[in-house]
């Protein structure tokens, strides 16, 4: 359930709407459910509404942890 994708904010409007891009495809969506977003941020988009800002730091930390899982493996390898 709940197909949602990260989309880039291209333009913000005063009425709580925004234009976002997902891989180059643009769509008019509502950002009324998220605070403190700016052009250039990524938001999680589900059925035309942004539900959350994507945290750049957490994304990088998650990828780093995934890479670490592999590093440990190499240390243990005979």
């Amino acid at each position: 359930m709940c197909l949602a994708i990260p989309a880039l904010i291209l333009k913000l409007f005063p009425d709580g709407m925004a234009t976002v891009s997902a891989g180059g495809v643009t769509r008019s969506v509502s950002v009324a459910l998220v605070d403190d977003v700016a052009v250039g941020d990524y938001v999680l988009l589900h059925v035309g509404y942004a539900l959350h800002k994507v945290s750049v730091e957490e994304a990088e930390a998650t990828l780093a942890m995934m890479a670490e899982a592999g590093l440990l493996d190499e240390e243990l390898a005979p």
Binding site: G23, V25, R27, L45
Partner: protein
């Protein structure tokens, strides 16, 4: 006085065979389709065809919307029929076109479609040799239905058919997948997304002629139209009783098409293409064919996407598989019905 007055539409009289029909043909169809064959103006057109094995194909086109980024029902029908001829390795020599027009269709729309069809036929060098038009009452048609039939000649020594497909062959595709379907979707009510993706509708016969001339041992060609790459390869795998394995990382897909698919929850493998072909060939010729395709504008993003595997018993399900981006395997099965967007 011209038929093409602002606001003019198709009326029942235009299909009646009388003066109105003649004017429609003279003022809209004939100028756009003009060629020596059509100019014979007989019920049946005489064609002096070169000798050789004759092939014939027909297609009915019922698309909505009628016009879309990168084409319309007219150019689509011309390209589609030319491609069907070309997929057998044949050279297209002539087309026919039959129109069913709905009362109320704006003449300006018909004119645009006829112009586009004529241009497509001229650009491809394949004349529309004969045509017919009828009109149905309002509500009995989707604006316009077009049926095109094509004739072609297969050159000596060319035998292209699914039965040639054998294990350990290369599977090539001539370019990016899903462009047409996404272009159509972007026009659809209720979806409202903006994209620069246009339909890839194109005639592929020149590219095919070059390919066949260079590599007569091509096993099979097919264009992945309705149902996308998945439907076409599943068909071929079944027809040849052979397994197939694709590499997801090798599939050429435009970022915007990928983005639209992610947004709507669609799988690009099931989305229609209108200007692409799949080529299955002996592996030693794959590079040659890729080079030839890439020299053509329609084949710019040609790539090898997989290989055929061992023979399978006829009727075995799940012949088409794909190694996924993360290195797992999935079956690429037929889709039941039309693929719909999803929220889940």
């Amino acid at each position: 006085m011209t038929l093409l007055k602002p606001g003019a539409t198709i009326e029942m009289a235009h299909g009646g065979g009388g003066m109105a029909t003649t004017r429609l043909i003279r003022e809209i169809f004939a100028p756009h389709f003009a060629n020596p064959l059509l100019a014979q103006a007989h019920d049946a057109t005489r064609i002096d065809a070169p000798s050789g094995r004759l092939v014939m194909t027909t297609d009915a086109h019922v698309i909505s919307p009628l016009e879309f980024p990168g084409g319309d029902i007219g150019s689509l029908s011309v390209h589609g029929t030319i491609n069907d001829i070309a997929m057998g390795g044949a050279r297209p020599i002539a087309l026919s076109a039959a129109f069913i027009l709905e009362e109320g269709l704006p003449l300006a729309v018909l004119n645009r479609i006829a112009a586009s069809m004529g241009a497509a036929a001229r650009h491809a060098g394949v004349p529309i040799a004969t045509a017919d038009t009828k009109v149905v009452e309002r509500g009995h048609g989707d604006g316009i239905y077009i049926t095109t039939t094509g004739l072609g000649i297969v050159p000596e020594g060319v035998h292209i058919a699914p039965t040639n497909i054998a294990p350990d062959m290369a599977i090539l595709v001539s370019g990016t997948l899903g462009d047409h379907g996404v272009a159509i979707l972007s026009q659809r009510q209720g979806l409202h997304f903006g994209t620069t993706i246009t339909s890839d509708s194109a005639a592929l016969h020149h590219m095919v002629a070059d390919m066949v001339a260079a590599v007569p041992s091509i096993a099979c060609l097919r264009d992945p139209t309705r149902g996308g790459l998945s439907a076409t390869l599943n068909e071929l795998a079944e027809a040849a009783s052979v397994q197939m394995l694709l590499q997801e990382s090798a599939l050429p897909i435009r970022p915007e098409v990928a983005g639209a698919c992610e947004l709507l929850g669609l799988d690009p493998l099931h989305i229609a293409n209108e200007g692409k072909l799949i080529c299955i060939c002996p592996p030693e010729h794959a590079q040659t064919l890729l080079t030839i395709m890439r020299r053509h504008p329609e084949g710019q993003n040609a790539a090898q996407i997989g290989t055929t595997g061992p023979r399978a018993a006829p009727g075995t399900p799940g012949l088409l598989r794909m190694t996924t981006l993360i290195g797992g395997t999935r079956v690429v099965d037929w889709l039941a019905g039309e693929q719909l967007p999803r929220i889940c």
